[in-house]
Symmetry: C2
Subunit: 211 residues, 2 copies
């Protein structure tokens, strides 16, 4: 069965909201409430629950613990998961700092860089390896998912190398579309394009306001 990307996105989002609610001591949520917090419709929430094979909703809504369990069962690797980051420039190190304090589910276990000054150093508790060690380290740590934070000109080549070394998912921060085999899942985070997009629509709504 094929789960749509948009559903996975929202389910991750629901999880965070549910964790917040749980921390506040809430025991159940109804679809309307969860929808309100997530900024979607209640029907959407219930639809999304269907992919969890939920049927744990009662007349007072969903028990939060039950939902969290099912979400974890779907999204998480039971044994935890190591990911890598390629590129330890400004952006790469910022990402390392950002993710170093994130939960225990996903751990940024290693970094890769080609710069000899970087190789062997440790950033935020994460050791940086050279390209020659890539295949070995990725195999040893069971890494399938990599964040790509290298300069645009080398992104395609590094991505291909990563795939050769076993990567099947890439979170690409470089501002170039990657051409990779179909079995590799690529998610693009292009901050420059995102900012241009927001500027465009923000200008557009300002214009509407004026009329």
């Amino acid at each position: 069965m094929q789960i749509p990307v948009s559903v996975v996105e929202r389910i991750g989002q629901y999880r965070r909201i549910l964790q917040d609610l749980k921390r506040d001591g809430t025991g159940t949520v109804c679809s309307h409430h969860l929808a309100e917090r997530a900024g979607v419709t209640a029907a959407q929430v219930r639809r999304d629950m269907m992919v969890l094979k939920s049927t744990c909703g009662t007349r007072h809504g969903y028990p939060i613990d039950c939902l969290l369990n099912r979400i974890a069962g779907m999204l998480d690797n039971p044994t935890g998961e190591n990911v890598a980051i390629a590129g330890t420039g400004n952006l790469g190190r910022a990402l390392l700092a950002y993710f170093s304090m994130s939960g225990p589910r996903l751990r940024v276990a290693v970094a890769f860089d080609t710069d000899p000054d970087k190789i062997g150093r440790v950033f935020n508790g994460c050791r940086c390896h050279g390209p020659d060690d890539m295949a070995r380290v990725m195999a040893e740590q069971g890494i399938r998912t990599v964040m790509l934070a290298v300069p645009a000109r080398s992104a395609q080549a590094v991505a291909e190398r990563l795939v050769e070394c076993g990567a099947t998912g890439i979170l690409n921060f470089a501002p170039v579309p990657l051409r990779l085999p179909a079995h590799v899942f690529v998610e693009q985070i292009d901050m420059t394009l995102a900012l241009e997009k927001v500027a465009f629509f923000s200008r557009r709504t300002s214009r509407e306001e004026r009329t």
Copy 2:
């Protein structure tokens, strides 16, 4: 007329590819070529061109200069555009560094922070102001678009403040969905969720590989 978000995204992407081609001395592209580089279908490219009211395609494809002009006419504010960033923690400063070298179309003109130690300082050529100056500075600089890089717990409140001060577009890096008036365009960049998503699908395709 309502332009879909996805079209604006792709047009920004096309622009970058066209600029690369131009730099290489190419004069025209056909839809197939552009599609290949962007990782979409040729039909998609031609469809997207329709929102540019293009009709500048000839039998040998589109003249690149013509396309670039029309894209600029659609996406860019003719007088350039100032944007702001709220939050100058690790992430905020990394974003400032990242955008400080970007093109002249969008300029990160000011930063905001509540920390008295930060107010008055200059990061990457960008002065940091306190909350009291927000309304004045945003009006002076004509800022409608803001990047939000504050901690999750204060994101909603800061966003509301920004909207009061005239923001109509927010690029939100905080891991919470914002509830704002409908006229405000919000784009969410949630790196943790993005990484979880990639990990999920990457695990999924690994499983398929095994079969």
